[in-house]
Each structure stands twice: as structure tokens, then as C-alpha cells.
């Protein structure tokens, strides 16, 4: 991350008035920033969006009264744009009336400076805005490191609140077969390395199909398809992810066997249905998770892969949502611990 305090930032000046535009750009360049300018809101949005791919702007200085697209419309569009929502905006305007200033702030502007802009005040406001942005970026990066991008996005959009909501989705549990024996047979450093490789591959497979890994316990993981963000065809997505996971383990094994190491095997259980998803924990420490019968069933199915000697087991609800060429074989009803009635179990064809 670039250290912005006291150093150059990339700024965009949006003003339809040429004198204002030149003067503002001049003030900012004298303060050491690099400045681009746009003559109306539409052009500014185009430039901001184009810059996202390369080097994004750090801050927008926005006039309000403009033809084609005025400042209020720009603020509204920025709020609706996921990529640009975090961009700090300082309104520089000679709008009349406090109501207009309030409206700017309500629409998400960071600050309001009336024209003609005092250069000293401008410098102070820009410094403060950039510093705030830096802190926000840092915080977002931290959230991303400890949560999935979906959870981070959900938190940014709807804020953090303990409590759950009912969602339809698919839950997956997976772990490494015979992991304990494996751990005892090799130095701990090798186990850590194996786990890191394993998790990297599994995350790739799961997030590639829209799933979210929300728990890692030892060699096991839990993933959700359909929360926090809704996912169409969540069951099929989970099954496809499971097939990718098996394929990745096969590739990993080819590598391991070539290096004289033992191959590993994984078991995966998937169940589909309603669950309660949300943040559980305390205000200080919380995780995003799902609970409910569906979750318990997925865990039981995963454990049952040892008994059934099959890599991927799913319930009837998941089986019902598997379009060809996805295929599964009925293994009959199984009485799981903690379940009142026997559950139909299906093994997904994995080769």
C-alpha cells in the first residue's frame, strides 16, 4: 500500500468552468499531487472507471453545478458503483444554501469547500481525506485477510451485526483421510507445508464455483454456497467444486508420489436446504457461519465417506439439483447419529 501522508496522490478535478479547473489543478500541483481534469460529471466517471484498471485515483474534487451530469448525479453514481464507492470526494462549489451542502454530505461526499477555495484549507482537507482513505483501505485489507471477499463485501455493504437470517444454500464439509497417521509419519514442517498447499488448492476450487470457505479446522474445512451472497444453482456449484477438489488432489498426489511421499485422499459431504447464516460470536470477535440441520447433515455425510468408501456423498436435495453430466449413484438410506429418520445417501460419480 502506498504511503500517502505528505506525499503525492493522484487527484481528479471535475469542474465545467475552465478558470476554476485550471486554478484548482494548479493549487494541487503546487502541493505536489498529480492532477487530471474533467469538464463534467460524465467525463469524470469515465475517467474514474478507466483508471480503476490501471492506477486508480485517490480522490475526486467535484463541482456541483455542471451541464450534462451534475455533481449530485456523480455522487449517486459513485455510491452505486462497487469499485468506486470508497473514493473520497471533496465538493468544491459555490452552491447557494446550506441544504445543498447537507445533500452533498448525505450523498457521501467527504467534505465541502466553498469557492473560491482557500489553498491552505484545501491542503488540510485533502490531507485528512487521503489519510482517512488510507485507514479505510488498511481496514478493508485486514478484513479481506481474515474473511473471504464475499464476507468482506457483505460487511462493507450491510455493516457488521451479530445475528442470522434464513437462506437457501448448500453446505460442504471436507477433510483429509488418515490425516492423523500422516501427521505422525512426517516432520511437522512438512505437515504445515502440505496443509498450506491443500488449503490453497481447495480454496481455489471452492471460490472458483462461488463458494465461501468459512471454517478451517486442522485438515477439515467447511464451505457455504449461497451465503452471504445468493448463488443460483448453489447445489450444482457445490458438486462441481467437489469434483474440482478431487481433481486437484489427484494432481497434488502425482507430485507427492513422484517425490516419494504418500498420496492423500479426501472425503467430501454436501447437503442442500435452508440454514441460518450470519455472524456468531461477540462484538469483539465473530465469524461468519451457517447453522441448522442442513449443516449437520453435510458433516454426517462427510464422515460417512469413510464407511461408504466413496469420495463425495450428497443428500437427496443436492442430488435433485444436479443437471447432467453430473451423475450420482443411490447408496440407500443410512441412519445417522442424531437424525430421527434414515437419510437417502448418494455418491457422486467422480471419474
Amino acid at each position: 500500500m502506498v504511503e500517502l501522508r505528505g506525499s503525492a496522490a493522484r487527484l481528479l478535478v471535475c469542474d465545467d468552468n475552465k478558470v476554476n479547473r485550471l486554478l484548482l489543478a494548479r493549487s494541487l500541483e503546487l502541493q505536489g499531487h498529480s492532477v487530471a481534469s474533467a469538464e463534467n460529471g460524465r467525463v469524470a466517471l469515465e475517467m474514474l472507471r478507466a483508471a480503476l484498471a490501471a492506477q486508480a485515483f485517490d480522490l475526486l474534487l467535484l463541482d456541483m453545478e455542471m451541464p450534462e451530469m451534475n455533481g449530485f448525479q456523480v455522487l449517486e453514481q459513485l455510491t452505486a458503483d462497487h469499485g468506486l464507492r470508497g473514493l473520497p470526494v471533496i465538493v468544491t462549489s459555490s452552491l447557494e444554501g446550506i441544504a445543498n451542502v447537507v445533500r452533498c454530505i448525505e450523498l457521501g461526499a467527504e467534505d465541502y469547500l466553498s469557492k473560491p477555495v482557500n489553498p491552505v484549507l484545501l491542503k488540510a482537507r485533502i490531507g485528512a481525506s487521503l489519510e482517512k482513505k488510507r485507514l479505510r483501505d488498511q481496514q478493508a485489507a485486514l478484513v479481506r485477510r481474515f474473511a473471504t471477499s464475499e464476507v468482506a463485501q457483505d460487511m462493507q455493504q450491510s455493516g457488521f451485526a451479530l445475528g442470522g437470517r434464513r437462506v437457501q444454500g448448500a453446505v460442504m464439509f471436507s477433510d483429509i483421510r488418515g490425516f492423523t497417521a500422516l501427521v505422525e509419519s512426517q516432520p511437522p514442517e512438512e505437515t504445515i507445508e502440505l496443509l498450506n498447499t491443500y488449503y490453497t488448492l481447495m480454496f481455489e476450487a471452492i471460490s472458483g464455483h462461488g463458494g465461501v470457505v468459512n471454517q478451517m479446522i486442522g485438515d477439515g474445512l467447511m464451505a457455504i454456497f449461497g451465503a452471504p451472497l445468493p448463488l443460483p444453482d448453489h447445489s450444482a456449484a457445490a458438486v462441481r467444486a467437489a469434483l474440482d477438489m478431487i481433481e486437484m488432489i489427484d494432481l497434488l498426489n502425482a507430485d507427492r508420489v513422484a517425490g516419494g511421499k504418500a498420496a492423500i485422499r479426501i472425503g467430501i459431504g454436501i447437503a442442500t436446504g435452508e440454514m441460518v447464516a450470519g455472524y456468531t460470536g461477540t462484538q469483539q470477535r465473530a465469524t461468519y457461519t451457517c447453522i441448522g440441520d442442513t449443516v449437520n447433515l453435510a458433516a454426517r455425510l462427510e464422515a460417512h465417506t469413510k464407511v461408504a468408501q466413496r469420495a463425495i456423498l450428497v443428500d437427496a436435495a443436492t442430488r435433485a439439483c444436479m443437471p447432467p453430466p453430473l451423475a450420482a449413484e443411490a447408496l440407500g438410506a443410512v441412519q445417522f447419529h442424531g437424525k430421527a429418520a434414515p437419510v437417502e445417501v448418494f455418491a457422486v460419480a467422480s471419474d
Binding site: 465545467d16 468552468n17 475552465k18 478558470v19 476554476n20 485550471l22 486554478l23 494548479r26 493549487s27 503546487l30 453545478e65 455542471m66 451541464p67 459555490s94 447557494e96 469557492k115 473560491p116 489553498p119
Partner: protein, 111 residues
């Protein structure tokens, strides 16, 4: 003459913060930009376009204040807030004030 039309402290501050050479260029830009603003005011009045009238008056106000042409800015502000006038008289008055401000700025520019 200059004292009454251009506020000297505003102008000096502008020169100090942006640089004299830059301010001279900015004055040239202002002189180029103003006639189209007057055209816009007159056209908006003829067409009964309140928004365009307000925007043009707003632009003139903003730039006048930048250079310290406080009276010109105040007159433009009245037009900005007053809606469409009954006739072109206020625009003519504004143009007269601008002619004075232009002469004063030209003098300052070479001073």
C-alpha cells in the same frame, strides 16, 4: 479605479498562492470564457431556460469571486438566485460592470 472594482487583498492572495505568471494566464482564460457566458445568459433568457441561466450566472459569480471582482460577483449572484429577469437590463448592467473589471484586471496584469 482598480481599488473599487477588484479587491486587492483577494487578488494578492491569488497571486501569492498560484504564482503571478499563472494568474496572468488565468486572467486571459477568464477573458476568453466570459463572452460565451454572456451569450449563454442572453440565449437562456430568450429561450426561457431557467437552469441554463442560473448555471451561466453561477459560473460568472464563481470566477468573479476568484479574482476579487466582488461587485461583479455580487451582481452575478443576484441573477443566479433571482430566476429569469423580465428583460435584458440586468444582463446589460452586468456586462457594464464586467467591462470595468476587465479594464482593472488588465491594469493589474501589467502592473
Amino acid at each position: 479605479m482598480v481599488e473599487g472594482i477588484i479587491d486587492r487583498s483577494t487578488f494578492a492572495e491569488l497571486q501569492a498562492s498560484a504564482g503571478e505568471d499563472f494568474v496572468n494566464e488565468l486572467i486571459d482564460t477568464f477573458f476568453e470564457e466570459v463572452p460565451p457566458m454572456f451569450d449563454e445568459l442572453r440565449a437562456a433568457l430568450a429561450a426561457g431556460n431557467v437552469d441554463a441561466f442560473r448555471r451561466a450566472a453561477h459560473s460568472l459569480k464563481s470566477n468573479s469571486q476568484t479574482f476579487g471582482a466582488l461587485n461583479l460577483g455580487a451582481m452575478a449572484r443576484e441573477l443566479e438566485l433571482g430566476g429569469l429577469p423580465a428583460d435584458a437590463a440586468p444582463i446589460d448592467a452586468l456586462a457594464h460592470e464586467y467591462a470595468g473589471a476587465k479594464a482593472a484586471l488588465t491594469a493589474l496584469r501589467h502592473g
